[in-house]
Assembly symmetry: C2
Homo-oligomer: 209 residues x 2
DNA sequence: GTCTATAAGCCGATAGAC
DNA sequence: GTCTATCGGCTTATAGAC
């Protein structure tokens, strides 16, 4: 695990602990995120979440009103966290390309919690039906945050001649699609599968020199 | 839609119609693939599939034994179809890079049915639990087919100096991850979203000249 | 503070009507 | 050949025990 991803994960947890002060609630949410990521909203049983967190099924209802409630809360945290991660990267020292490199290392790190949340956010909450209204609303509002922090980095990189001169929005959409695709591959196949270097992942937006 | 993707889709349907002679069964399967892709195995209700295909809920059971049966059948077709698509591309005229370019155009084409199946295969069938045993077995057997046809193209391209000299397996894993990520973005956001050119998608494996 | 037991509702699968 | 009605099981959510 790289220094970068450790730093970002710390940042992420800092925010998480601030947003969710109760340790038991955090425990439920963290375990729920893994189960949701693997099985989807409908496929996840409250019993699965409770068992994974070390509680009985009924216990969860002392802290959450419903399964949808847990899901919506997680989507909110994930959307928030994704925005924070990209913003944090943009505030690091270095050239724009170095910042993006840094961010990519963190997002694709084998044991990055942020990655799980990311996949959860992007994949599930936009699958149209059976998703709680509240979750859809949150995604609509907050899903653009990562883009808002990413695109300025791209434009700076283009000015500096580090990044290819394609439309920044297209580069951003491509970037997050690729990160999501690689994260999914990791979640599905475990850490055993061969994985590209960060340098390879970023070639598509690297200015040829 | 490019000439290439039309050709591949025709090839794909040719195989589909051969493997599934009954038109009603095909209709159910095609509609089921869309619903499964959007909602996942657990989130898909038989009623959804039936309604989308224009049948009543009970009707489906004249042709399939269970929901798992439909799912497993689809996973099989998707695994088969993915292998056939890559093989077909490898048999086209042109340089290795041109063949991969061709394949990518076809897989990412906005209205490619193969794309839906692809996502279904990769994402769902490996989500560990609640997935029918039979489906898991099929994936284990057939999911490597695309790689077996893709890697020789990569190696040929490396010999010809068209493709970067990274390990072929890593390039292949990266390629299919990226295609999956982009396909997901399309499925979730529709055709309105900005999308990269094929050239951009393939930069990561293009040899710098 | 945490678990067990139970009620209510949903969905998959079947059987039988038209 | 296709639909409607129904049964049984599973899951959510609650209520009450320890």
């Amino acid at each position: 695990m790289s220094v970068q991803s450790k730093a970002l994960e710390m940042k992420f947890f800092e925010n998480f602990e601030h947003a969710v002060p109760d340790e038991k609630v955090r425990r439920i949410l963290l375990n729920a995120s893994e189960v949701f990521a693997k099985k989807g909203l409908a496929g996840t049983k409250i019993k699965d979440i409770a068992a994974k967190a070390g509680f009985s099924q009924g216990f969860v209802y002392n802290y959450f009103q419903s399964k949808d409630d847990i899901f919506t809360r997680l989507v909110d945290l994930a959307a928030e966290g994704a925005g924070i991660s990209v913003k944090y990267a943009s505030e690091q020292e270095g050239t724009p390309y170095e910042k993006i490199f840094w961010l990519t290392e963190a997002l694709l790190s084998a044991d990055s919690i942020a990655m799980q949340h990311w996949r959860l956010l992007m994949t599930q909450a936009s699958s149209s039906e059976a998703v709680p209204e509240a979750a859809i609303k949150i995604v609509k509002e907050k899903a653009k945050l990562p883009f808002e922090h990413f695109i300025p980095m791209v434009m700076d990189g283009q000015k500096a001649g580090e990044i290819a001169d394609d439309p920044p929005l297209v580069l951003a959409v491509t970037y997050f699609s690729i990160v999501q695709g690689l994260a999914l591959t990791r979640i599905q196949n475990g850490n055993g599968i061969p994985f590209p270097t960060t340098e390879m992942v970023l070639r598509f937006m690297r200015k040829e020199r």
